[in-house]
């Protein structure tokens, strides 16, 4: 063997400046929390405390919502082309400072720098550019004078793509003339706090964008505030259900983007090497913390052994480690809680009778880590075949015919995404027609574009983000 080891190539942390403590960003400035309570945000790759963030209570939320109500007065008088200018400015500033954002995202969330640098940040900027372009063309999108903004919208975002999910929510909301109270996830608030600084820098009118940090109780206060006109939530299905129950009986708009258990269907006539790459990308991208992850591999029975063999070899080349190392493929699990959840589900998979393959690699001593894992010999009734694991764990099922593939793929409470791998165009179309999934990729996976609407069926939620349809999530019919 002529082993060639890649030396560490660490992206410098020096570029980011993290305050010891952060307040909420309300009415255009950072303010100390009424609650006087703080919570540490740590780096999941080292468990080092990065900063303390405020926990918003009822009064904090009330303050933020009132600021957004006041902000709406001016924002609704701001011409659409002016709104567009602010969004363009934000997009450009994000591009300028993308390295800083990327490092911060990887530090706070654990994702590899190559992903935050090459995927998250470019997508974030694109979203702002895209919706900046729509701001003065809303009438063209859905007809003249038929729609108007909700007003004050509450947005609750998850920890897997913190800044990207912020951009999916904030850009269309501001473009359509709403004002925002945003609550980032408790484990990943730092990029949102930096974004708030940018809002100040571009001179966004006070109260248009408000940021309130905290935990689940803060989110709950936001959902239950009387003056919120619309809630947009991305996160787990259980929290989504709670929100929907809370809002029942109130005139509050709601869009939910929830969990998934996507099927990645590999037919025997697929280009197998490329399918292996796609399957790897589908489940191990962002440590599998992806709602649309291709977490169920459906492989045609006659190529099962060949495919699994290729897949295991490829998995073994994945580089797990320091998220700031530019050569890291798989970073840290976002939190201790999430790691426990993944571990429990995997243990259950093994005791159910699933055959577990994990790559051989050394894991860092500190921080939260999970080896890329593959289950074979799984039956449809195992929990790992039905429940969202939200980690680097792939579950394999087999099928014999296209009909059976579709049946298995749809045999889930979710319906967010799916993948199809075959060299036959007609088979792609046949299969896609029959899958209940919001987004379907063919011979590729995890490809995103701001112009393409994203969202789910069944318990994966409702409403669409992105594209022309994404505007509708922040508009209601004009009376």
């Amino acid at each position: 063997m002529n082993n060639w080891e890649y030396a560490e190539s660490i992206e410098s942390e020096k570029i980011v400046k993290i305050e010891k403590k952060y307040g909420h960003f309300i009415n255009g400035e950072f303010v100390s929390p009424n609650s006087k309570k703080y919570l540490d945000t740590i780096s999941p790759s080292s468990e080092e405390v990065l900063s303390s963030i405020s926990i918003g209570n009822e009064k904090d939320v009330d303050f933020a919502v009132n600021a957004a109500k006041e902000g709406l007065k001016q924002w609704s008088k701001t011409s659409p082309s002016e709104r567009s200018k602010y969004l363009f400015k934000l997009a450009r500033l994000i591009q300028e400072r993308s390295r800083e954002f990327a490092v911060l995202e990887s530090l706070d969330g654990g994702k590899p720098i190559k992903e935050s640098r090459d995927f998250d940040l470019p997508q974030v900027a694109q979203n702002f550019f895209y919706y900046a372009g729509w701001a003065d063309k809303i009438d063209l999108a859905w007809g003249s004078g038929i729609s108007k903004p909700y007003g004050v919208v509450g947005q609750i975002i998850p920890w897997n793509f913190p800044l990207l999910m912020l951009s999916w929510k904030v850009a269309p909301a501001l473009a359509t003339g709403n004002t925002v109270v945003l609550k980032p996830a408790e484990t990943t608030p730092l990029t949102a706090l930096l974004f708030a600084e940018l809002c100040d820098e571009v001179g966004l009118p006070k109260g248009v964008f408000n940021l309130i940090t905290g935990d689940g109780t803060t989110g709950s206060e936001l959902v239950n505030h009387k003056d919120i006109k619309k809630i947009a939530f991305t996160g787990s299905t259980s929290v989504g259900k709670y929100i929907q129950k809370s809002l029942a009986g109130r005139d509050v708009g709601l869009t939910l983007e929830l969990g998934g258990k996507a099927a990645n269907i590999v037919y025997n006539d697929a280009a197998l090497d490329e399918a292996v790459e796609g399957v790897v990308n589908g489940i191990f991208f962002n440590q599998g913390h992806v709602c649309c992850a291709g977490s169920r591999l459906l492989v045609q029975e006659d190529i099962h052994d060949v495919f699994i063999n290729k897949l295991e070899k490829r998995m073994q080349t994945l580089r797990v480690g320091n998220p700031l190392d530019k050569n890291t493929d798989i970073g840290a699990i976002n939190s201790k809680d999430q790691l426990d959840k993944i571990t429990d589900l995997v243990n259950e998979g093994v005791s159910d009778g699933g055959e577990l393959f994990q790559i051989e690699c050394e894991l860092p001593k500190n921080g939260f880590w999970f080896k890329p894992s593959l289950f074979t010999g799984v039956q449809a009734n195992y929990k790992i075949a039905t429940e969202e694991i939200f980690g680097p764990v792939l579950t394999t099922l087999t099928f014999r015919t296209p009909d059976e593939a579709v049946e298995i793929a749809n045999n889930t409470e979710y319906g967010l995404s799916a993948g199809i791998w075959t060299e036959k165009g007609s088979k792609i179309l046949w299969t896609a027609d029959r899958l209940d999934a919001g987004v379907i990729w063919a011979n590729t996976f995890n490809k995103f574009d701001p112009a393409s609407p994203f969202g789910g069926y069944k318990e994966s939620g409702f409403g669409r983000e992105g594209g022309r349809h994404g505007l509708l999530s922040y508009l209601k019919a004009s009376s």
């Binding site: 060639w4 190559k114 280009a271 090497d273 790459e277 011979n443």
Partner: protein, 312 residues
């Protein structure tokens, strides 16, 4: 050892034909993988390691009508000692010349580590009857060539006569026997990834020890995408039990950065076992000088001008 394998590691035509018929490659996936591997950040000791490996994998090449004995002597001498001021820099893998100049090169490199490779089979077009290709090859071997670089019959390939492509390579491998046979696919003419993969399969089945991207004689030379496809074909070949085969990339690889990206592809798709001159080569004329400069830069922190290095 696989039963479909006969003498000279040749896979029978029926099996070959099945494999060719079953070729599938997805363009988007290939491009994605190559661009993702290009982001590998190779620094410090791993960079030095890579650069020294690249020197040892270089087939220093001149294939011009204007080549003279003097030119060949100069290049062969450089291949043996690319940087006379630094003993840690290895010798190149081989010199690559036209058949008529093999004996000249051989006189210089003698029994050193540096091999003499000769192009043959009516390089670069391959437009000649098989009898001529055989005598061209036999001549190079008689002159002392250690390795033979042939071209595939693209005329037959595009006419759909894959069997003829296969039979010609097989016939030339028969002539070569133990001598290393590198088969040039000329990917710049094959164009599609499917064609590149088909030609790779045919060349490997017909007994080639190496498959090689390009002649360097047309404007479209090597590409990292082709290297990836060829690497995956070689991997598949080994998984069938047909043994380890090598890859040579040539044509347009001019700087160290590009060469390192090729090395990353081989490292991640095939693994460390392929990272030696026995299984991976660069065919190049100007690449070596840039690699030597980069080595010097890493060791001394200063770029040196070309005139510090001997001409090749």
């Amino acid at each position: 050892m696989n039963t479909n394998l006969s003498m000279n590691n040749i896979v029978d035509w029926t099996t070959t034909s099945d494999l060719v018929g079953n070729v599938k490659v997805d363009q988007v996936g290939v491009l994605d993988r190559v661009s993702s591997l290009a982001t590998r950040s190779i620094k410090r000791e791993s960079k030095l390691d890579a650069l020294e490996k690249i020197v040892s994998m270089c087939d220093l090449t001149t294939l011009e009508g204007e080549d003279t004995e003097g030119k060949i002597i100069q290049m062969s001498s450089k291949a043996m000692s690319p940087d006379p001021n630094d003993d840690n820099v290895p010798s190149a893998a081989a010199v690559c010349v036209y058949p008529a100049l093999v004996s000249t090169a051989k006189k210089i490199v003698k029994d050193s580590n540096v091999k003499v490779a000769s192009v043959s089979s009516y390089f670069p077009s391959g437009q000649a009857p098989i009898e001529s290709k055989i005598s061209d090859t036999q001549f190079a071997i008689d002159e002392g060539a250690d390795e033979i670089d042939i071209v595939i019959n693209r005329k037959a390939f595009f006419e759909g006569d894959y069997k003829k492509v296969y039979e010609e390579i097989k016939a030339l491998k028969d002539v070569c026997g133990e001598i290393h046979l590198k088969t040039i696919l000329e990917i710049g003419e094959l164009k599609t990834y499917e064609n590149i993969k088909k030609a790779s399969v045919i060349a490997l089945c017909a007994g080639s020890d190496f498959i090689k991207t390009s002649t360097g004689k047309i404007s479209n030379g090597s590409s990292r995408e082709a290297c990836l496809i060829m690497a995956r074909t070689v991997r598949e070949f080994e998984s069938y039990g047909y043994g380890m085969r090598g890859i040579k990339v040539a044509g347009g690889i001019r700087d160290a950065k590009d060469a390192i990206r090729y090395l990353v592809i081989i490292n991640e798709e095939l693994g460390g076992s392929w990272l030696s001159a026995d299984y991976f080569r660069f065919g190049a004329s100007s690449l070596l000088d840039d690699v030597l400069k980069q080595i010097k830069k890493l060791k001394t922190n200063a770029y040196q001008s070309s005139y510090y290095f001997p001409r090749g």
